[in-house]
């Protein structure tokens, strides 16, 4: 122990140089090892994928505006088109947007800054995972232009071994994307173990780092199972090796076990980092120390662990044994506890705060409501009796969109708006970004709320044509999806406007106390002039708002006792 009384200081770089202007030319981007530039390149790729997946979503919602075929008079061609749309929407959104979204963009940009480090532990590996992501994405583009894919994003056998569409390139693409995910996970685990600065013990880490750590554990342990499964699928399809096909002596339900052994934990790859982002935003915009730090941190790790034990709840009606179903149902409910803890802790953080309704906070509040609905509707699906009725209906579709899109997308947008000034050195227009947030929130609920009722009334998912009694729900939902699209376009307009015309961002526009706010916006190439010392990440009272310069400035009269021997061995002041 070497306790020191530290007065925090702002080591703002004297030079005008930042990571965006540090080097010029295309190659300085393509060959960069700078985590910040890699994050920006991920952002371009992942947002392009989101746009593509969104276009597929609008097309399939438009098809569903009437019960019969809407686009084409030939019903078979119309069905094939619809089947391709929902498959590509699901595959692109899952593998190219939600899974990498927060870790690869926000994680890559913010994690080393929060650690007060110059970069992640393995910068070359980081660049390699970017290229693996791009390589995997190329396979999806190939699929798109050479016959498409109509298996659903889940690639269930034996349909996926029979269909004439491009299953092998698509699964190979997902296989490669899996490695990108694994390498990012390895990098984050190594960085958090090795690069914590003096003063940052495990329980002085920002909660986003706990969430990314939990996510990385899942990425490393679960993704290889997906890789093996997809290889087995390719072997069966290309070589006729009988693993899943009953005609060859296999069992198709085995595929579902393998697939969900990855893909259920993958749901937590999507939501855990989102929860991390929300923990940061709620605390900063309530101007209060986070409530129940250790419960939130512990619940991230608990979710990561429990996520491996619940995959069988996707197979309650598959014919798996009743005993297995009962055990999986019970274990599934266990995951709801750490999620509930987080929600209550966030609310308690707001209690007696000074709640500042800036754009990131609007998205964070939206997150709590949408995650509340998504989580609570999960209770119906974890319970065996009701799951039998809701399985594979629009109830499920609505539920997982509330969790994956409502929650993860809202956290993603909260995070991007929160760190945007740090990433690009520009502020955005608060009025229009708030307006966009409100439109996105209402559009989202318009789209997915009616789907709960369509599903509980019995409308199965993945239906190109449907019975007329479900028309009204689908029409409301389709109109909602257009409102949602308008909101998201407005978000993009605000971002572009900010890049071109935005006011220059100060080092700390929101008064956050994690280390990224102790450097310039945008940060210099090396992030920090000298290694910062980490105190309590949620001591927001170190900062006070200066209305004249519209930024938070460090108070002169504050200081805190810090154990300089905490932090990673080897990280010393320098």
């Amino acid at each position: 122990m070497s306790i020191a009384y530290i007065r925090p200081e702002l080591p703002i770089s004297a030079s005008k140089d930042n990571y965006l202007t540090h080097a010029r030319g295309v190659l300085s981007w393509l060959l960069t090892l700078d985590h910040k530039r890699i994050a920006i390149m991920y952002m371009v790729g992942i947002l392009s994928s989101f746009l593509l997946g969104g276009v597929f979503a609008l097309l399939l919602r438009t098809e569903l505006i009437t019960p019969g075929p809407t686009f084409m008079s030939d019903p078979v061609a119309n069905r094939n088109f619809y089947n391709q749309m929902f498959t590509l929407h699901g595959a692109v959104m899952t593998f190219l947007f939600i899974i990498p979204g927060i870790p690869a963009i926000i994680g890559n940009f913010v994690l080393p800054l929060m650690l007060g480090a110059k970069d992640v532990a393995f910068p070359r590996l980081n660049l390699a995972s970017l290229y693996l992501w791009l390589f995997g994405a190329v396979f999806f583009v190939i699929v798109l232009f050479t016959g498409g894919l109509d298996t659903g994003w889940t690639f269930y056998t034996p349909y996926s071994t029979e269909t004439v569409t491009r299953v092998i390139p698509a699964t190979f693409g997902a296989f490669i994307l899996g490695f990108s995910s694994i390498l990012t996970g390895v990098n984050f685990v190594a960085s958090i173990h090795m690069l914590r600065p003096p003063g940052m013990s495990w329980f002085r880490m920002p909660l986003l780092l706990w969430a990314l750590y939990g996510t990385a554990i899942i990425q490393i342990l679960a993704t290889p199972v997906l890789a093996i499964t997809l290889l087995l699928l390719i072997a069966e399809r290309a070589l006729g090796v009988g693993i899943f096909d009953p005609k060859l002596g296999g069992d198709p339900v085995l595929y579902q076990h393998f697939f969900w052994f990855y893909s259920h934990p993958a749901v937590y790859i999507m939501i855990l980092p989102a929860m991390g982002v929300i923990s940061e935003v709620i605390s900063v915009f309530s101007r209060k120390h986070i409530f129940g730090y250790s419960f939130i941190a512990g619940s991230s790790i608990a979710i990561a662990m429990l996520s491996f034990l619940v995959w069988g709840h996707h197979m309650f009606v598959s014919g798996q044994s009743n005993l297995a179903s009962a055990i999986f149902s019970l274990l599934t409910f266990s995951v709801s506890i750490p999620s509930a803890i987080k929600v209550f802790n966030w609310l308690a953080t707001m209690y007696k705060g000074s709640i500042w309704l800036q754009t990131p906070m609007l998205y964070a509040l939206g997150f709590i409501l949408l995650f509340g609905i998504g989580g609570l509707t999960g209770l119906f699906l974890g319970a065996l009796a009701t799951d039998v009725h809701f399985h594979d209906t629009y109830f499920i579709v609505a539920h997982f969109h509330y969790v994956m899109m409502g929650s993860t997308l809202f956290a993603f947008l909260a995070g991007i708006h929160y760190w945007w000034p740090k990433m690009f050195g520009r502020m955005y227009d608060e009025f229009w970004s708030k307006a966009a947030a409100v439109i996105v929130f209402f559009g989202f609920n318009f789209t997915f709320m009616p789907q709960f009722v369509a599903g509980s009334q019995g409308m199965p998912r993945r239906y190109a044509e449907y019975m007329p009694q479900y028309t009204i729900y689908n029409q409301i939902s389709t109109v909602g999806s257009y409102i949602l699209a308008v909101g998201l376009v407005l978000v993009a307009v605000v971002w572009v406007h900010s890049l071109l015309r935005g006011r220059k961002a100060p080092a700390n526009p929101w008064g956050g106390n994690t280390l990224e706010w102790y450097t310039a916006s945008p940060p210099p190439h090396d992030n920090f002039e000298r290694t910062p010392i980490a105190g309590d990440p949620y001591r927001l009272d170190h900062w006070e708002y200066d209305a004249k310069s519209r930024q938070f400035v460090l108070r002169e009269d504050v200081g805190e006792a810090v154990d300089l021997s905490a932090g990673s061995p080897g990280r010393t002041l320098g």
Binding site: R287, L330, S354, I368, L384
Partner: protein, 372 residues
């Protein structure tokens, strides 16, 4: 709209013995979920209004953690979810435990139609059941995974190739005209969304009469009438049009003429003309296409046809051929002259599994296929 049935806002009409219990679990969870959602929303709104940022107002000092409070909101949800689990599990055991005296029906899913086989061997594309009698379904698939779903019964079970899953229900509402919707709930390819059938629930005496009439069409219907019934009832028209338009499979409109003339071309480039011999007749080709669709693939179509071996009797094949002929003016007279063997009074139809013990011999014995 199912106007005559009392659908609630959330749930369709309760038409099976366990639907009420499933809905009870639903409303129980809904109450808990609504309580917590309102709690979260009210707390959030109150905090946002009460503690919103104002000029000169600093956040008030309050604790960073409170072990007793945090344990409270860990333990109360824990107790509640264990309770929900128990309620859900008990409801589930009702759904999966059939009574001993259940009437068995074999369900075969295939792209993209349903086949319901009764103990006497009769196969129908819709599910007909007697009211107030437990029905056990034995489900299997000929190709990919399907899932049998009847929302009004709260019944769903996957139909998996290579497995014989079981499900049961007891219908409680007579519905013998409109029928309850029966969906395929597991995505199974192109026409997944039209793999839809109906469940007709009859009074027990009506059911017995229906089954008897439906299983012995010989003598009551002409082969052409029977063929016309079969192509819709067995889902043939899902893929084969009657008006000459191209669908997933070749049209039925001129299929007989094409076959007789040997004009059909196969994927390997050969034509049917080169195959037709005195011992490989057009009739035999049609039978082969129904029983062993993988034997030859017609050029221009992807091989999607499932085998109907064991599901369509030889008399039915004869009826189908008569029906194909009737679609073409050239062969109409020939079609009307067609006859089939009359069943003897007390014997079962040719495809009947002995005694109808569907669980021990679910697929039924194979009828004599076309000789090759």
């Amino acid at each position: 709209m199912l106007a005559q049935f009392d659908n609630s806002f959330w749930m369709p009409t309760q038409a099976s013995s366990y639907a009420g219990r499933v809905d009870w679990v639903f409303y129980f969870i809904l109450t808990i979920a609504a309580f917590f959602f309102v709690l979260i929303t009210v707390l959030m709104v109150v905090f946002v209004v009460r503690y919103r940022r104002r000029e000169g107002q600093e956040p008030q000092r309050s604790a960073h953690h409170n072990m007793r409070l945090e344990l409270t909101w860990t333990i109360i949800p824990l107790i509640l979810v264990v309770f929900i689990f128990v309620v859900g599990f008990r409801g589930y055991m009702d759904i999966v435990t059939p009574p001993a005296n259940a009437y068995e029906i074999l369900v075969i899913g295939q792209k993209w139609s349903w086949a319901f086989q009764y103990p006497n061997g009769y196969v129908d594309a819709n599910l007909h059941v007697p009211v107030d009698r437990p029905i056990q379904l034995i489900l299997t698939s000929r190709d990919v995974i399907h899932s049998l779903y009847v929302p009004a019964f709260r019944l769903k079970k996957d139909v998996v190739p290579g497995r014989y899953n079981r499900a049961w229900f007891q219908a409680t509402q007579v519905n013998d005209t409109e029928g309850f919707d029966l969906f395929c709930a597991e995505y199974c390819g192109t026409s997944h969304s039209t793999m839809v059938a109906k469940v007709f629930v009859h009074e027990p005496t009506d059911f017995a009469r229906w089954l008897e009439e439906a299983s012995q069409w010989e003598g009551r219907m002409t082969p052409v009438q029977r063929g016309s019934q079969l192509v819709t009832q067995r889902g043939c028209t899902q893929c084969h049009s009657l008006d000459g338009s191209i669908n997933i499979g070749p049209s039925f409109k001129d299929v007989w003429d094409r076959t007789v003339q040997g004009k059909t071309t196969f994927r390997d480039g050969s034509t049917l003309a080169s195959l037709l011999k005195p011992d490989y007749t057009p009739e035999q080709y049609i039978a082969e296409s129904i029983y062993r669709p993988d034997a030859r693939h017609v050029a221009g179509f992807s091989p999607a046809m499932p085998s109907y071996l064991g599901q369509i009797s030889e008399n039915d094949v004869t009826a189908l051929i008569a029906y194909f002929k009737s679609l073409d003016p050239k062969y109409k007279a020939e079609a009307e002259a067609a006859t089939v063997a009359q069943p003897a009074a007390e014997t079962q139809p040719a495809v009947s599994p002995a005694g109808g013990a569907a669980d021990t011999q679910p697929a039924g014995p194979e009828p004599a296929g076309p000789e090759s």
